[in-house]
């Protein structure tokens, strides 16, 4: 069975989460969220919590590399990996 990777749609949803829930405008999906200081530890927790709520997933933080949180693109890959049971998202 193959599974399509709707990364671009996840990117749009994640960017929306950043702007609407965290009040952070992301310039590019590849912007470094960690080294730039955009995400401090508290905002990272808020982001991951929001992602879990929005996508109905449970992230096994202990098993993930911190690099998975470095950019919106990588976060989209993460969501895609743990969201295989969901329907393909609608980019709105």
């Amino acid at each position: 069975m193959t599974h399509s990777t709707p990364t671009s749609a996840w990117i749009i949803r994640l960017t929306k989460i950043f702007s609407e829930r965290l009040l952070i405008r992301i310039e590019s999906p590849d912007t470094d969220l960690l080294d730039s200081g955009i995400l401090d530890s508290m905002k990272l927790v808020e982001l991951l919590f929001t992602i879990e709520q929005e996508f109905g997933i449970r992230l096994p933080i202990a098993d993930l590399d911190i690099e998975s949180f470095r950019s919106v693109s990588r976060l989209a890959g993460l969501v895609d990996r743990f969201n295989v049971m969901s329907e393909v998202p609608t980019a709105t």
């Binding site: 401090d40 530890s41 990272l44 927790v45 808020e46 991951l48 919590f49 879990e52 992230l59 933080i61 202990a62 911190i66």
Partner: protein, 335 residues
């Protein structure tokens, strides 16, 4: 509370507190702690909270004998300044304080201060730091050349009378932390593993203090009811804890997390508050008899200093007093 052992409470921290009422809460908690017979109260330090020395001054001004246990991290001030603060509090108030020397901290805090010093090197720095403070407190002129600090003919004014000389504690569960505490003559403060660990390594506990929360009631069921109500599962707290685990180089953090995986949800040694980022210390939860037995076990293993978690209310001290009294009775009978 009891003789021959020292019990410290912990002062509320300002992160997330209500600014207009925070100071009053500090004062109220200090007064509860003093009434309960605590020797002192720990005042935290990190980037996100108010200055511990100023909180200590507030505590002293609103209590009669309670000794602030001020957390001191070298990155925040030169050892001369720390010694000067201790001397100033002694001079102004005639009150003894304790110093809780801390080598580490939150990884983000240290990074923000551009402190990339590796774990064991931080203890080497702390040893120099403590040596300078100790020699300044001894009086006279101090010259010291180390890897991290150097002073020449430095004197501490005003001098600190012998009876007001600060007690010295040092946080650290790692080998280097324990070795540094021993070398500095400080009481090593650890976040304890389950009691079984102490039975197997009694020699490691000489001059050891532990940080531990206590929820005890006459019946275990009532204690657990309180524990679960006070520390409900909190996903954001769990995420915070799991992320901290990924970046922390603290030995105690990893040891406690390992212990959490090995213990059932309702064993007396309880780590749910730690796993939900509500506190850093393990809790002992259960009936008076069970918790007293655990405390007696730690005491038998050499623990003489206990630093409790931030008290929830004044009544909690009544329960805690009971278990410490019973633990001491157990020791007396078995002796």
């Amino acid at each position: 509370m009891t003789d021959s052992i020292e019990i410290f409470a912990t002062s509320p921290q300002s992160l997330g507190a209500d600014p207009p009422t925070y100071k009053e809460r500090v004062i109220q908690t200090a007064r509860w702690s003093e009434s309960a017979g605590c020797t002192g109260t720990l005042v935290y330090t990190d980037n996100s909270i108010v200055d511990p020395w100023m909180v200590a001054d507030t505590i002293i001004q609103h209590t009669a004998s309670l000794c602030p246990l001020v957390a001191v991290q070298p990155i925040y001030m030169h050892p001369y300044t720390a010694a000067k603060m201790a001397a100033t509090l002694a001079y102004l108030h005639g009150r003894r304080i304790y110093l809780n020397m801390v080598a580490g901290g939150f990884a983000n805090d240290l990074a923000a201060l551009n402190d990339r010093t590796p774990h064991d090197r931080r203890y080497a720095r702390l040893a120099e730091y403590v040596e300078i403070i100790s020699r300044l407190l001894d009086g006279g002129s101090v010259s010291f050349t180390g890897e991290f600090y150097g002073v020449t003919n430095l004197r501490l004014c005003p001098p600190v009378p012998a009876h007001l000389r600060p007690g010295m504690l040092m946080s650290g569960s790692s080998e280097s932390g324990l070795a540094t505490a021993r070398a500095c003559g400080a009481t090593a403060v650890v976040y304890p593993g389950p009691l079984s660990k102490y039975h197997s390594q009694p020699s490691s506990c000489s001059r050891t203090g532990i940080r531990v929360g206590i929820i005890a009631r006459s019946e275990a069921e009532s204690a657990w009811e309180t524990a679960h109500a006070r520390f409900p599962a909190d996903r954001k707290g769990q995420l915070t804890h799991e992320l901290a685990m990924k970046v922390s180089d603290s030995v105690w953090h990893k040891e406690l997390s390992q212990a959490a995986r090995m213990h059932s949800a309702e064993s007396t040694y309880w780590l749910v508050p730690f796993e939900n980022s509500k506190t850093n210390c393990p809790y002992l939860v259960g009936s008076y008899a069970t918790v007293a037995s655990e405390l007696a076990g730690y005491m038998t293993a050499g623990v003489r200093t206990f630093i409790l978690d931030i008290p929830h209310n004044e009544q909690e001290f009544e329960h805690i007093s009971i278990v410490f009294r019973r633990a001491m009775e157990t020791l007396t009978v078995s002796a």
